[in-house]
């Protein structure tokens, strides 16, 4: 009984994991490390990201395995899609790291050591390692371990809010996340057990599943396993009805962690979903129908709820729910094209959502800023470029040009569904695009709205005269002086710029995403 390790394939997972270990070890050796840990984390993430290249460069359909059994099946397999997802996870994690950099480097202050920073960094790296492992998992053991690795540290990250005012809420959010994740994990474990009972193997192989489905008593068992496994994974992707934790936790966690939950974590969720649905697809229509129903429910509920939110984090939370529906949509029709579509959509979604979060965070950190919709009123005037970037992100999420990439992403995920001829799902999805547009355009309308400072009470007939006499520069200067004083941190500018550039590039030539 030998297991072929093939470590080189594992680097994307190993790099953050190793970084976590190194950070912990370093802390023991050098308790006052300060920002070094953050740098180490960054190196880990970048290294991992670099290591995804060989996998991405593979041709379609190829996969490099690790932990391969003599039978040829591997417990870990990296296809180009896997590589892409891992890159996405590591990249978004890097963004989160940059966002949270000052907060975490301050975390150590006041205590004699840099231990608080180390804890945060280690948890963060561990979670990232878990996230990168999920899409490559090909057996239940790997899946269970990596999923929990991706989830549990995040619970801690949520709870480790250091600002006193928000601590209480953060803990509550962590509890919500924790309880849901625990129950889901329990369901997942039960599902895994039944899976093994039904198929006789822990490998997530479609052949075994198909074999089990052929025998009536085992097929019932398999069905039950599928139900439980789907329920377990649904939590992670915030699919309805496993979504209840999402707004709670998003709103209470520190914003960078929320970004992590909305961005990086989704990679794990979708990765797991892909792995499972692929394995289950051969058995019966059940998985596909279930995914379709869940996707439809999720996007509808998410959009309907997002439509009412005035707190932008809540709005983004519900938008994340709605987008989860979109992510699952192509999985309702099983083909490699569908899986790739979901991956491509995930990439677009993650970039856009992270960008939106970055902007929300920037605005929230402004002296008089906040996370309410009203705080974004007139943003297009005060911070035109930031607002433009945010607008791009929102349009991407809504799927409207000029953010063409968002639209293409929607086209791509709808395509497999259309190819299957699942008309009802297509119609629901279509209506949800409109609903989604209403959600995001509401925000967008606030961005380009005039604020009170800008509007001048002019007696009606004088309006035109005023138009001609009053030079523009004056008005620009008088508008909102408090905003002018605020200087956006360079790292925010860079992040916004880079992410917006990604979306723009993708809009012009969406090469290699789908």
């Amino acid at each position: 009984m030998t297991l072929e390790l093939n470590i080189s394939v594992l680097w994307p997972v190993l790099a953050p994991a190793l970084a976590a270990v190194v950070v912990l070890v370093l802390d023991v050796l050098w308790p006052r490390g300060g920002a070094v840990h953050l740098w180490l984390a960054a190196v880990g993430l970048v290294g991992g990201a670099a290591a995804t290249w060989p996998a991405i460069a593979q041709g379609a359909g190829d996969a490099t395995g690790a932990f391969c059994l003599p039978s040829g099946s591997c417990l870990y397999a990296a296809s180009s899609l896997t590589g892409g997802l891992q890159l996405l996870a590591l990249g978004s994690a890097l963004v989160v790291l940059v966002l949270t950099w000052p907060a975490w480097s301050r975390a150590g202050r006041g205590s004699a050591t840099s231990a608080p920073t180390v804890v945060l960094v280690a948890l963060f790296l561990a979670a990232t390692a878990g996230v990168t492992a999920v899409p490559a998992a090909r057996d239940l053991g790997t899946l269970l371990v990596s999923l929990e690795l991706a989830t549990l540290p995040v619970v801690a990250l949520v709870a480790l809010e250091r600002r006193a005012a928000r601590y209480r809420g953060a803990v509550a959010g962590a509890v919500a996340l924790l309880t849901t994740s625990l129950v889901s994990f329990a369901l997942l474990a039960l599902g895994a057990a039944l899976w093994v009972a039904a198929t006789g193997t822990a490998l997530l192989s479609p052949e075994a599943a198909a074999e089990a489905a052929a025998v009536p008593e085992r097929s019932a068992l398999l069905l039950l396993a599928a139900v439980l496994v789907l329920a377990g994974l649904g939590f992670k992707i915030s699919a309805v009805p496993f979504h209840a934790w999402t707004p709670l936790t998003y709103a209470t966690a520190p914003l960078p962690v929320t970004t992590y939950l909305a961005g990086t974590s989704k990679v794990a969720a979708l990765g797991g979903m892909i792995v499972l649905v692929q394995a289950l697809a051969g058995t019966s229509g059940f998985a596909l129908v279930a995914v379709a129903v869940i996707a439809a429910l999720t996007m509808t509920l998410g959009n309907a709820m997002a439509l009412r939110q005035v707190d932008l984090v809540h709005l983004l939370a519900w938008s994340a729910v709605a987008q989860a529906g979109w992510l699952m949509l192509p999985l309702a029709s099983l083909s490699s094209r569908a899986v790739h579509a979901a991956g491509g959509y995930l990439a677009v979604y993650v970039v856009a959502t992270v960008l939106a979060f970055v902007v929300v965070l920037t605005v929230a950190r402004r002296p008089d800023g906040g996370v309410l919709l009203s705080d974004h009123r007139g943003l297009a005037r005060h911070q035109p470029l930031t607002a433009a970037a945010l607008g791009l992100a929102l349009l991407t999420l809504a799927g409207l040009p000029p953010a063409i990439i968002g639209l293409v992403a929607k086209v791509v995920v709808l395509r497999p569904v259309a190819a299957d001829g699942t008309w009802w799902l297509l119609i629901v999805a279509t209506l949800n695009i409109a609903l989604g547009i209403a959600v995001y355009v509401r925000w967008l309308a606030a961005l380009i709205e005039r604020t009170a400072g800008e509007e001048v009470l002019v007696p009606a007939p004088a309006a035109e005269a005023a138009a001609q006499t009053q030079p523009r520069g004056d008005r620009g200067a008088t508008a909102a002086p408090s905003h002018a004083a605020y200087q956006m941190p360079v790292r925010h500018r860079v992040l916004i710029g880079a992410l917006a550039a990604l979306l723009l590039l993708g809009s012009i030539a969406p090469v290699g995403i789908f």
């Binding site: 009984m1 059994l69 239940l140 053991g141 269970l144 371990v145 929990e148 549990l152 619970v155 801690a156 709870a159 005012a165 928000r166 601590y167 209480r168 809420g169 803990v171 509550a172 959010g173 962590a174 509890v175 924790l178 309880t179 625990l182 129950v183 994990f185 329990a186 474990a189 039960l190 895994a192 057990a193 039944l194 093994v196 009972a197 039904a198 198929t199 006789g200 193997t201 822990a202 490998l203 089990a212 085992r218 068992l221 709670l248 709103a251 209470t252 439509l307 009412r308 939110q309 005035v310 707190d311 996370v371 309410l372 919709l373 009203s374 209403a438 355009v441 509401r442 309308a445 606030a446």
Partner: protein
């Protein structure tokens, strides 16, 4: 021994666990419910491994047993995190009642009833 008995036990465990999750407001009791469900999962895995249910030949990987170990390990890790969070919860709220209002942060944010809806969709 027939596999029915351990499986029956597993079913009972899962049922009790579910009941615990649903009915108990106390966080620790809820945790126990989850643990019971995990126990059920483990029991099923072990039983499957032992009785060769649903297998054509022997499983060279001993999936059942191995997975049981995995589940136990993860459960342990979970409990660590969970108890830590429950402790934090107890510290901030003075109780560990899961049915209590969670969103205390909401109070900070003025809950603007959304008048904009009408305007926006007009």
């Amino acid at each position: 021994m027939s596999p029915a008995l351990p499986l029956l036990l597993a079913a009972i465990l899962a049922g009790v666990g579910t009941y615990g999750v649903l009915a108990r407001r106390h966080a620790v009791l809820m945790l126990i419910g989850v643990e019971l469900m995990l126990g059920a999962a483990g029991l099923i895995l072990v039983t499957v491994g032992q009785f060769d249910i649903g297998q054509v030949g022997g499983d060279p990987l001993a999936s059942g047993a191995v997975l049981t170990l995995f589940v136990i390990t993860i459960a342990a890790a979970e409990i660590v995190v969970a108890l830590a969070v429950v402790m934090a919860m107890f510290r901030t709220r003075g109780d560990v009642d899961l049915t209590g209002e969670a969103q205390t942060v909401e109070a900070e944010v003025p809950d603007e009833t959304s008048p904009k809806m009408g305007e926006v969709l007009g």
